[in-house]
């Protein structure tokens, strides 16, 4: 009766997602040096670019995209996430990117509907 499309169309494919994230980061902030006045706009553009590329995949997922941009100053940063979900349907991917003046960490969580 109800035929759920299982298989490729409903899997969270990490390689594909990580490629998308890397391209979005490069497009939004690649080649820029850290500037306090622009960083707010950068986080927004990284996240929105990621999200729009993810929606174009057309998969039945809800997405949560988080980005952290930090200036390189010798300070340490730890991030952890804990998730209560269905391992078969959901997945996450985290990409760390850096250049000479800043770090950018983008996490994407995809939850199957």
């Amino acid at each position: 009766m109800d035929e759920y499309q299982s298989g490729e169309e409903t899997a969270f494919i990490v390689d594909e997602i990580s490629g998308i994230i890397k391209e979005s980061i490069e497009a939004a902030i690649g080649g820029n040096a850290y500037q306090p006045s622009r960083v707010s706009q950068w986080t927004t553009s990284v996240v929105e670019l990621c999200l729009s590329q993810l929606t174009k995949l057309g998969k039945p997922f809800k997405y949560i995209v988080t980005s952290v941009i930090m200036q390189k100053n010798g300070a340490g940063l730890h991030t952890a996430s804990s998730c209560y979900w269905d391992n078969n349907a959901d997945g996450s991917c985290t990409v760390r990117w850096e250049n000479k003046t800043m770090f950018c960490i983008v996490s994407v969580f995809g939850l199957g509907i």
Binding site: L77, S82, W85, W97, E98, N99
Partner: protein, 177 residues
């Protein structure tokens, strides 16, 4: 220049142990070199061995409940109180130390997840995200965007700082239709 990049890559790979979610699954790290040598990116994800190679969807088929909306909505205020309670109690007296904070992030995220699960809100998936960092006169910006159903899904956020460290906690709750 490429030697410096290789050293950095080696150092990063050795350090990736500190950048993993607490789970019993393997953490795989792939490293890709960019053509422009002034930026570098690393990917890490948690994956069940053979996760995507299995027959997809081996779970049993559930019957439709024909339920469109949740019977009980996610209580954002209660979760806010949980965060306000947990973060200061774990971090008030602590000083930033790499090993301590590595354990602390994993512990705190598990604790918050457990307390939110205790609220027993049915059909909600929970994601808890914790960032703990050193205060070193630097600037940091954390942003997130979500593609979801804003009638049923929500998030909670709290930030805390003391003399030597800051902590930011985000809890996302997504309804499972």
């Amino acid at each position: 220049m490429s030697d410096v990049a290789k050293d950095k890559a080696a150092r990063l790979l050795r350090k990736t142990g500190s950048f993993s979610s607490l789970s019993s699954y393997d953490v795989k790290v792939k490293e890709s070199r960019r053509k422009q040598k002034d930026s570098m990116s690393t990917v890490s994800y948690m994956d069940d061995p053979g996760h995507h190679d299995d027959i997809p969807r081996p779970t049993q088929q559930m019957e439709n409940t024909y339920q469109l909306y949740p019977t009980k909505y996610f209580p954002g205020a209660t979760v806010n109180n949980i965060l306000k309670d947990v973060l200061p109690s774990y971090l008030q007296e602590e000083k930033y130390e790499p090993e301590l904070c590595r354990q602390m992030t994993k512990t705190i995220s598990e604790v918050i997840k457990a307390r939110v699960k205790d609220l027993m809100i049915p059909r909600y998936k929970i994601i808890v995200l914790i960032h703990i960092g050193q205060l070193n006169e630097q600037s940091i910006r954390i942003g997130s965007r979500c593609l979801w159903n804003s009638n049923t899904d929500t998030f909670s956020s709290f930030s805390f700082c003391n003399q030597s460290l800051f902590a930011v906690a985000n809890v996302f709750a997504v309804y499972f239709e």
